[in-house]
């Protein structure tokens, strides 16, 4: 009865290896710029990270289940764009179908789900490499934004799609509440629900999971679909923040998403990591970006500093976590 206690504490801490990094960043940031530690600035950081954090949440689940999804970044732009085109008139760049504007959010989520389901179909049914399937889908899904819009930005959006990304609830951006809530659900679901735990089993040893009676294919489909839906929701939040849907929305995010998840302790090999850890990864990336902007590092050298900080965070999470990464 005495031995287990320290181990428990250690395991808990393993999710939190990045907390010291976050503390250091807060201290360093406060020294470097007086604006940094203001409520306003920190709120901005949270709002700026809200959309990408949903992708990290999605990717963390997919990685824990031992799979991979690169196409999430394209869904960010394409799902809301297609939904918008379904409801706005042709003059505003739509298909001219005249669906009611209130449907735009559900439609976007459905498009996201459909993309996720198609990914799942190819990967699970045809047993294709998840990396390459979703790489091809990244290209295709982005083409599904670029094709119908012919490269144009969608400026005339229904009000409802702008609301979530721009509203304030109790003084905090709605996007922050939404992301926070979904992370709480994710932490609970992957920590305390059987279906959530089954992701770890599948990612850890898929044959053993199958032998234990887990409906592996069904769970994996669910994860891919949920991933697509979360990416679509991220797109909706980002649309509200930016006020328009450009062809470049979400492009290039996926690398940051992986970096955040892995720094946060999620393994690329499946079966390992937590949602809480992934959240700390997002925060580290957000704070680093914010500090670099505040101190105004030269744009030319910014990548070097930025990449180095990722490496350092990775090492800290490796040393504090105490395990080889994969």
């Amino acid at each position: 009865m005495t031995a287990p206690a320290p181990r428990l504490r250690l395991a808990r801490f393993r999710d939190l290896t990045l907390v010291p990094v976050i503390v250091i960043l807060l201290v360093v940031g406060a020294f470097l710029d007086p604006t940094f530690l203001t409520a306003g600035n920190l709120t901005n950081v949270l709002q700026q990270q809200a959309a990408i954090s949903l992708l990290v949440l999605a990717e963390a689940m997919i990685l824990i289940a031992g799979k991979f999804d690169l196409s999430l970044e394209s869904t960010v732009g394409t799902a809301p764009a297609i939904a918008v085109m379904l409801v706005v008139p042709a003059a505003a760049g739509g298909f001219g179908l005249g669906l009611p504007g209130t449907l735009v959010i559900p439609l976007a989520l459905v498009v996201g789900a459909a993309i996720g389901a198609f990914n799942g179909f190819l990967i699970i049914r045809f047993q294709l490499s998840a990396f390459i399937v979703t790489l091809a889908m990244l290209i295709i899904v982005h083409g599904l934004l670029q094709g119908p819009t012919e490269g144009k930005t969608l400026f005339q959006l229904p009000e409802s799609i702008l609301y979530l990304g721009s509203a304030l609830w109790l003084g905090l951006p709605a996007a922050v509440w939404i992301a926070g809530l979904l992370f709480a659900v994710g932490i609970f679901g992957l920590g305390y629900l059987r279906i959530g735990r089954s992701l770890y089993a599948i990612g850890g040893n898929i044959d053993a999971a199958r032998a234990a009676g887990i409906r592996v294919d069904r769970v994996l489909y669910g994860v891919f679909i949920l991933g697509g839906v979360l990416a679509a929701l991220a797109g909706i939040l980002e649309t509200g923040r930016l006020g328009a849907i450009g062809n470049g929305m979400g492009v290039g995010w996926i690398f940051m998403v992986f970096a955040a998840a892995v720094i946060g302790g999620v393994s690329m090999d499946g079966g390992k990591g937590t949602i809480l850890g992934a959240l700390t990864g997002v925060l580290v990336i957000g704070l680093v970006q914010n500090i670099l902007t505040l101190i105004g590092v030269s744009g030319f050298w910014q990548p070097v500093i930025y990449g180095s900080i990722i490496l350092i965070a990775l090492m800290i999470s490796r040393i504090a976590g105490g395990k080889a990464q994969d």
């Binding site: 710029d33 604006t35 203001t38 306003g40 600035n41 901005n44 709002q47 700026q48 003059a91 670029q146 012919e150 490269g151 144009k152 930005t153 400026f155 721009s166 980002e238 509200g240 923040r241 930016l242 006020g243 328009a244 450009g246 062809n247 470049g248 929305m249 979400g250 492009v251 290039g252 970006q289 914010n290 902007t293 505040l294 105004g296 744009g299 030319f300 910014q302």
Partner: protein
């Protein structure tokens, strides 16, 4: 849709190959839409366009393919102006004239460069903001990608002009990589740090306009020009949405980068080259000037500054598209 009849009608010998630089920006996609329209007006025998998706190595491949298919003149818009040197050399060896749109290749022969003066954009934006701010205060410039020549020209000219003409103005330069998301985050952070920022220069209206307006709106700074809280915004490109914003008083000016004229004169010069015409430096019949470059000629098309005063001018390309 190219056949021998069109070729006969065009008089000058041969097909024109065209490569588009990218398909995901508002400006370029307006240009892309003007091209076939202008081609039929000018009776140019145009081959199906290729697209190099912002990748110079694809551009080189595409040009090779176009030449293989029998192009006698090439229109391109190399976003990396150094890395086309070899391609231009090869085209020169094959006696294929090249019209470069929007950018000026560093090395290698070009028949004509069709472009507005990007440095002039930066200078004009600087002068506009400098005057509006009375020569003091803080401004932000949302840069494009620093590896693109146009972004660099705008950025350098803007900074140079500010340094010499308005030394009391502080400039914050934000490298956005042409990404709306980065632009929004950086502007938001900068405004948090310096609430007294009074001016913004955006390098690309297509990607920067909506995020900027959204940030200003959230901060309660989206107010009419006569309000003391107003932040003066100058944009670049001249797409219809920028004009709407000018009309509403949300932004104050933009540089109209003439997508229509780019398309028109690119094809015009390509056809002229095939017909064996030659041009000299000096003013032209379309409000522009041809200047001499070490490796060819450049037709510097007019790029007017659009403000509330001239925003309804029918001649602006942004007012001609839907």
């Amino acid at each position: 849709g190219s056949g021998s009849t069109t070729e006969g009608a065009s008089g000058g010998g041969g097909k024109v190959g065209i490569d588009h630089p990218r398909a995901d920006s508002d400006f370029w996609n307006s240009y892309i839409k003007y091209v076939p329209q202008m081609a039929s007006e000018l009776k140019v025998d145009l081959m199906p366009a290729t697209n190099s998706q912002n990748d110079v190595s694809k551009l080189v491949n595409n040009v090779q393919a176009l030449v293989g298919q029998g192009a006698k003149a090439i229109v391109m818009a190399p976003q990396d102006t150094g890395a086309v040197a070899n391609t231009l050399q090869q085209l020169e060896n094959k006696k294929i004239p090249v019209v470069s749109v929007d950018t000026r290749p560093d090395k290698g022969k070009v028949y004509m460069v069709v472009r507005a003066d990007n440095r002039a954009y930066g200078t004009k934006a600087c002068e506009f903001l400098g005057e509006k701010l009375g020569g003091k205060g803080k401004v932000v410039q949302l840069q494009g990608a620093l590896s693109s020549i146009n972004g660099r020209d705008r950025s350098e000219a803007f900074l140079e002009c500010m340094k010499t003409k308005f030394p009391d103005i502080t400039v914050f330069s934000e490298p956005t990589e042409w990404e709306g998301s980065k632009a929004a985050s950086m502007l938001q952070t900068r405004l948090e740090q310096n609430p007294d920022i009074k001016g913004i220069y955006m390098h690309a209206g297509g990607v920067h306009l909506a995020p900027t307006l959204q940030v200003l709106k959230q901060k309660g700074l989206l107010v009419q020009p006569d309000d003391p809280k107003h932040i003066f915004v100058v944009s670049n490109d001249g797409i219809p949405q920028e004009y709407d914003a000018i009309r509403k008083g949300e932004i104050d000016a933009t540089m109209s980068q003439p997508a229509d004229l780019y398309a028109k004169y690119a094809l015009f010069y390509a056809k002229a080259a095939l017909e064996g015409k030659t041009f000299q430096p000096g003013p032209t019949d379309h409000d522009s000037t041809i200047i001499q470059l070490p490796n060819g000629l450049e037709d510097q098309l007019p790029a007017p500054l659009v403000t509330k005063d001239n925003v309804d001018d029918k001649n602006l390309w942004g007012n001609q598209v839907s």
